[in-house]
Symmetry: C2
DNA sequence: ATTTTATTTGAAAAGGGTTATTATTTGAGA
DNA sequence: TCTCAAATAATAACCCTTTTCAAATAAAAT
């Protein structure tokens, strides 16, 4: 939360109750992948006067600032999750093609691939998004 | 094209000129990542009577059949590319955060990670989508 | 504490990619 | 050729997201 305040100040932006509350919802729901409507519903509990447009704007802002990540599950809406600073990279996702479950993968194991890319393509990697599709243990 | 005919027949679906033409456009524009409107415009050259809704339906169908792949670049629309059967997996993409360039990566190098996932999570991997974000050599 | 000012907000409208509807056409097997 | 389920074109509807704009407000200046 202090980090949010600092990053906002640098850009001349304000720390509002709405922004604070929205970030708190993401922080308190780690491991889930909530869409904007779901986040809106939860934020309203603590911040009943907030508007849906503000939630959209805030999520966009928090994503640009790197505090949260957007996730696309091809279900017609954007989903978000809190960026845990303990992990140095965004974690990977396993998506079950049978039941739709989304599983978090803590393993990174991309160092070899990233090194090869940086060398071969002279591309400086800042971030990545990795999704694996298949059948989860419950469905197998 | 023969593969399309076979896969359609299995499901009791028809091989129409519209489907044929749409797949040909993707085949003839490999290396690009066209959105639906762009594909529609090109298909119209050979198939002027085709409707936009048919292009949407066909791209969805070809994606489900595994003949093409959908790509999300967070620019408000879906993009597609032909699945080259020479590659056994979908290739990775490098996305420049400065100029927006999209670069194809032929290296796979995910075997180690995929093996670890199959073992540790008992998840049978069928496919993957991997995007790297950073700065390309032109912008660096 | 008061004033100032650029930023932010809520409500509602607009936007825009995608999907659904429906009457008509058509591919492909009999 | 006949038959019929599947596909199409045109258009309306859908729905997630962004924009608009007047009012409110955080935060710096006084
Ligand atoms: Mn996650
Ligand atoms: Mn590609
Ligand atoms: Zn499953
Ligand atoms: Zn670039």
């Amino acid at each position: 939360m202090e980090e949010l305040k600092e990053k906002l100040k640098v850009k001349g932006l304000k720390l509002t109750p709405q922004r604070r509350a929205t970030l708190e919802v993401l922080f308190n729901n780690q491991g889930q992948h909530l869409n904007t409507e779901e986040i809106y519903a939860i934020v309203k509990e603590k911040c009943p006067e907030i508007g849906l447009a503000t939630v959209y704007r805030t999520l966009q802002l928090l994503d640009e600032m790197g505090l949260i990540s957007k996730l696309n599950l091809d279900d017609g809406c954007s989903r978000y999750e809190f960026n845990n600073h303990d992990e140095d990279h965004q974690h990977h996702h396993l998506i079950c093609q049978s039941c739709g479950a989304v599983i978090e993968v803590e393993l990174d194991l991309l160092d070899q691939l990233e090194e090869a890319i940086e060398k071969e393509y002279r591309f400086r990697i800042k971030d990545h998004k990795v999704k694996f599709f298949g059948i989860c243990s419950n469905c197998d």
